[in-house]
C-alpha cells in the first residue's frame, strides 16, 4: 500500500493537471454548447458560425479592454476584460442581430430546409472569420491583466509540505464563477420569466406557440441576444485562460458541437453535461500518467513509458470518438434531444 503522503501527492497532481483544467475548459465548452443548443432549439439549425461568434465577441471585448487600459481604467485585481465584457456583448449582440435581419430572416420566411440554413451560417462564418482577422489579425493576443495567481505552486508546497505543488490561477476561478452565475441566470430566465417560458413553448411546438399569441420575432431576437451573450462570455473566458487566436476558436467548433450533441441537441442541461464530459475525457486521455502512477505503485512496478493514452495533438479525436459513440448508441444524446 502506498503511504498517505504519496496518496496526497497523487491527488494534488491530479487536481493540478486534470481536475482544475478540465473544470475550466468544461465551463467554457458548456457556455459555447449552450449557445449552439439554444439556437438549435429555437431556430432549428446547427450554427456553424458559433465558433467565430465567440472569436468576434472576444475580439470586441479585447478592443474595449485596450481602450480602457489606454485611459488608465483598471479593475483592481481582476482583469480589465471583465469590465469591458458588457460592451463587448453589446457589440456582438448588435452584429448577430444584424446577421439575422439581413441574412437568416429571409430563410425563415421561405421555410428553407435546415441544411440550407446551415450553409448560410457557413457564409456568415466566412464573413466573421475575415472580419476578425481583418480587424485584429490572425496572431495570438494576450489581454489578461490583474492578479494572475490566487496561490502559486511554490506557496502551496510551503504551506502543505507536500512535494507536489498546486497552482490556482485567477482565470480558472473567474471562469468557473462566471459560468455558474451565467448558467444559473439563464435557467432562471428560461424557467421563471414569461419570455423564457414562451421560448420553451416555441421550442417544443412552434405552431401551438404561435396560436397562443407568442410573438415569434421577439423569441428569435431574444435567442440571438442570449447566443451572443453566451458566445462572448465563453470566448472571453477562453481567451483569458489560454490566449486569443482566431483559428483556435474555429477549431473549438468540433468539441462544442460534440458537447451539444452528447447532451442532446436543444437541451440546455444536456449542453452543460456534454461540455464537462468532453472536457474531462479530453484532458484525462491526453494526460501523462507516469508521475501519478509512480506515486501510487510500488517501486518495482514503476512504468518507464509516459503512460499517455493519446498524444495531445489528437485531442480532437477524443471529442470525435465520443460523438460517434453517442450517435451509435443513443442518437438523441444523454438528455433526449430533438431530432428534426
Amino acid at each position: 500500500m502506498p503511504e498517505l503522503i504519496d496518496l496526497l501527492n497523487a491527488l494534488v497532481l491530479m487536481t493540478n493537471y486534470v481536475i482544475l483544467p478540465a473544470l475550466t475548459y468544461g465551463s467554457q465548452l458548456a457556455l459555447g454548447a449552450l449557445g449552439v443548443t439554444l439556437v438549435f432549439a429555437i431556430l432549428r439549425f446547427s450554427n456553424f458560425a458559433h465558433g467565430d461568434t465567440m472569436a468576434f465577441g472576444a475580439m470586441a471585448t479585447i478592443l474595449v479592454t485596450w481602450w480602457f487600459q489606454s485611459m488608465g481604467v483598471s479593475f483592481g485585481p481582476l482583469p480589465t476584460a471583465l469590465l469591458a465584457l458588457p460592451l463587448g456583448i453589446a457589440v456582438t449582440a448588435l452584429f448577430v442581430l444584424g446577421t439575422d435581419k439581413f441574412v437568416y430572416k429571409h430563410y425563415r420566411g421561405i421555410g428553407a430546409k435546415p441544411i440550407t440554413i446551415v450553409m448560410v451560417s457557413v457564409g456568415v462564418m466566412f464573413i466573421m472569420n475575415g472580419l476578425v482577422r481583418f480587424i485584429i489579425g490572425p496572431s495570438d493576443q494576450r489581454f489578461a491583466d490583474g492578479v494572475r495567481f490566487i496561490f502559486k505552486a511554490r506557496e502551496f508546497k510551503e504551506w502543505s509540505g507536500l512535494s507536489e505543488g498546486l497552482a490556482l490561477r485567477s482565470s480558472q476561478v473567474i471562469t468557473i464563477v462566471i459560468a455558474v452565475a451565467l448558467v444559473a441566470a439563464l435557467f432562471w430566465f428560461l424557467q421563471k420569466t414569461k419570455t423564457g417560458k414562451a421560448m420553451r413553448a416555441f421550442s417544443d411546438n412552434e405552431n401551438l406557440a404561435l396560436l397562443s399569441g407568442i410573438d415569434p420575432d421577439k423569441i428569435v431576437r431574444i435567442t440571438w441576444i442570449l447566443a451572443a451573450i453566451l458566445a462572448t462570455v465563453a470566448g472571453v473566458l477562453y481567451g483569458l485562460d489560454k490566449s486569443f487566436k482566431p483559428f483556435v476558436y474555429f477549431q473549438l467548433l468540433l468539441p462544442i458541437f460534440a458537447a451539444a450533441i452528447v447532451g442532446g441537441l436543444g437541451k440546455p442541461i444536456g449542453a452543460i453535461a456534454g461540455g464537462f464530459v468532453i472536457a474531462f475525457s479530453e484532458v484525462a486521455i491526453t494526460y501523462v500518467y507516469k508521475k501519478f502512477l509512480i506515486y501510487l505503485l510500488p517501486t518495482d512496478m514503476e512504468p518507464d513509458s509516459l503512460v499517455q493514452l493519446l498524444a495531445t495533438e489528437y485531442k480532437f479525436a477524443v471529442s470525435f470518438v465520443i460523438l460517434v459513440l453517442v450517435l451509435l448508441v443513443k442518437p438523441t444524446g444523454l438528455f433526449k434531444g430533438k431530432v428534426v
Partner: protein, 459 residues
C-alpha cells in the same frame, strides 16, 4: 435569343467569359501566371465535381473536404517517394505487427460484440477488449515509430514510399479517400443531415492531425519535398537541343535581327520563359484529361437510371424508400464516390506542388472555399461545378492584388506613416474571406440554383 438566359447558350457564354478573363490575365500579367491559375482551377473543378456528386446529386453535406484532399496528398508521398530501406528494416516489422494487431483486434472486438448477444455486461466486455487491442497495437507501434524516426531524421526519418511514378498516386489517393469515407459514412449516414456535417468536420481535423504528427508515415510537419514529377523539369528542357531549336524557329524574326552575344542572350531568356510555360502546359494537359474523364463519367451517371434514382431520393427520401430504393446504401455509395474524386484532386494538387506540407491544410481554404465553388457554379449541374471551380479560384487569386490596390486607394488620403494605414494594408489579404462569404450569401439569397442551374431530367 438572349445568350445569357437561354439555357442551351448560357454555358457557352459563361465559359466564354471565363476564358476571356484568363486570356486577359495572360496578356496583361503574364502567360505563366495565367497557366498557374488554370492548373489550380482545374484541380478545384475536380474537387467541386466530387462535392457536387455528394451535395448536388444526393444532398449530403460534407464539410470534411480538407481531410479527403489531404489523404490524396499523403497518397502522392506514399506512392512516389523513394523507399527508405534502413527505416523499413528498423521499424517495418514492428509497424506491420502493430497494423496487424489493430486490424485483427478490431475484427475480434466486432465478433465478440456480435456473438456476446444478450448476455450481461456486453458493453463493458467490448470496451475492455477494445482497450486491450489498443494497448497491444501501442506495444508494437511505440518502439517501431521511434526506430523509424531515428533513421537519418534530417533527411528521411520516415518509411518512404514505393518509388512508383507519381501518376499512380492519383488513383491511390482516390482509394484512400474512398476508404475513409466508407468508414465515416457507415457510422453517420442515416442520422440527421447535420450530424454528417459535424462528423466530417471532425474526421477532417483528425486526418490532418494524423498527417501532421505521424512522422514515421509522412514526415509530418517536416514536410516531404522534391516529389517526382510526371512532366519534365524546366532545367532539363533548357538544355535539350530540340527544345532550343523549336524556340529559335518560333522566334526566328526577332532573332535574325540580332547577332552574336545579343542573340544568344535573347535566345536564353526566351528558352527560360518557354520552358516554364511548357511544363505548366504539360500539367494542364494531364489535368484536363483527368477532368474530362471524370466529367464524362459524372454526366453519364447523372443521366442514367441510377442518377434519376439518387435525385429522387434527394427530393423525397420517404417516397423513394417506399418505392423500394435502398436510401442508406445509395447515400453511402455516393458519399464514397464523391470523396474519392476529392481524393484524386488532392493527389493531383500535391503532384503539382511537388511537395507535401500537412501544415498548410486549413478548412477555410480546402473545405469551405470548395463549397462556395459548388454553390456559385450551380449545385446539381456538373458543368456548373466546373465553372464554379474556375471562377471562384480566379476570384480567390485575383482578390488579393485587387484588395491590396483597393486598400492603397482608400488609404491614400491617410498619412503614410500612420499606424492605421499600415494595419489596413497589412490586413487586406483577409478581405478575400469576406468577399467569399459575401459571394456565398448573395448567391444563396438571390440565385440559389447558381450560375448554371440544375436541369431536370425531362427534355
Amino acid at each position: 435569343m438572349n445568350p445569357l438566359t437561354n439555357p442551351t447558350l448560357r454555358p457557352y457564354t459563361v465559359f466564354g467569359i471565363m476564358a476571356a478573363l484568363l486570356i486577359f490575365v495572360g496578356t496583361t500579367q503574364s502567360w505563366g501566371v495565367s497557366l498557374t491559375i488554370i492548373n489550380m482551377c482545374i484541380i478545384s473543378a475536380i474537387m467541386t465535381l466530387g462535392v457536387n456528386i455528394q451535395w448536388g446529386y444526393a444532398g449530403l453535406f460534407n464539410v470534411g473536404i480538407m481531410g479527403f484532399c489531404a489523404l490524396g496528398g499523403a497518397a502522392a508521398v506514399l506512392v512516389s517517394s523513394d523507399p527508405v530501406v534502413d527505416a523499413q528494416s528498423a521499424g517495418g516489422t514492428g509497424m506491420a505487427l502493430a497494423l496487424l494487431s489493430l486490424v485483427g483486434g478490431s475484427c475480434f472486438v466486432y465478433m465478440l460484440h456480435k456473438f456476446w448477444g444478450k448476455r450481461p455486461l456486453r458493453g463493458l466486455i467490448t470496451f475492455i477488449a477494445a482497450l486491450g487491442v489498443y494497448f497491444l497495437a501501442r506495444h508494437f507501434y511505440d518502439p517501431a515509430s521511434a526506430a523509424i524516426e531515428a533513421v537519418n531524421p534530417a533527411k528521411t526519418g520516415f518509411l518512404g514510399g514505393l518509388g512508383l511514378p507519381i501518376i499512380f498516386s492519383w488513383l491511390v489517393g482516390g482509394l484512400f479517400a474512398a476508404g475513409a469515407a466508407w468508414l465515416i459514412g457507415k457510422v453517420t449516414l442515416g442520422l440527421r443531415t447535420d450530424y454528417l456535417a459535424i462528423a466530417t468536420l471532425g474526421i477532417a481535423e483528425i486526418i490532418v492531425a494524423l498527417l501532421k504528427n505521424e512522422e514515421w508515415l509522412t514526415r509530418g510537419a517536416k514536410n516531404v519535398t522534391g516529389l517526382p514529377r510526371p512532366v519534365p523539369f524546366e532545367v532539363d528542357l533548357q538544355q535539350t537541343s530540340w527544345f532550343i531549336d523549336l524556340i529559335a524557329r518560333f522566334n526566328a524574326d526577332a532573332l535574325t535581327a540580332l547577332a552574336g552575344d545579343e542573340r544568344t542572350a535573347l535566345l536564353k531568356t526566351l528558352v527560360m520563359d518557354a520552358s516554364g510555360i511548357t511544363v505548366k502546359l504539360c500539367y494542364a494537359l494531364l489535368f484536363t484529361s483527368v477532368l474530362l474523364i471524370l466529367f464524362a463519367l459524372a454526366q453519364l451517371a447523372l443521366n442514367s437510371p441510377w442518377g434519376r434514382m439518387v435525385r429522387a431520393i434527394r427530393d423525397n427520401e420517404t417516397a423513394a424508400g417506399a418505392m423500394g430504393k435502398d436510401v442508406k446504401a445509395r447515400h453511402l455509395q455516393i458519399f464514397v464516390i464523391g470523396s474519392a474524386v476529392v481524393g484524386i484532386a488532392g493527389a493531383m494538387m500535391t503532384t503539382l506542388d511537388g511537395q507535401f506540407t500537412p501544415g498548410t491544410y486549413n478548412p477555410l481554404r480546402y473545405t469551405f472555399l470548395i463549397w462556395v465553388m459548388v454553390i456559385v457554379g450551380g449545385s446539381g449541374n456538373n458543368l456548373g461545378s466546373i465553372l464554379g471551380g474556375f471562377l471562384v479560384w480566379f476570384i480567390w487569386i485575383e482578390a488579393e492584388p485587387l484588395g491590396n490596390w483597393m486598400m492603397s486607394v482608400v488609404t491614400s488620403g491617410l498619412d503614410p506613416a500612420s499606424e492605421l494605414r499600415a494595419h489596413l494594408i497589412g490586413s487586406a489579404q483577409y478581405m478575400r474571406l469576406m468577399v467569399m462569404g459575401g459571394v456565398l450569401l448573395l448567391v444563396l439569397r438571390f440565385s440559389p440554383s447558381g450560375i448554371l442551374p440544375e436541369r431536370s431530367g425531362h427534355k
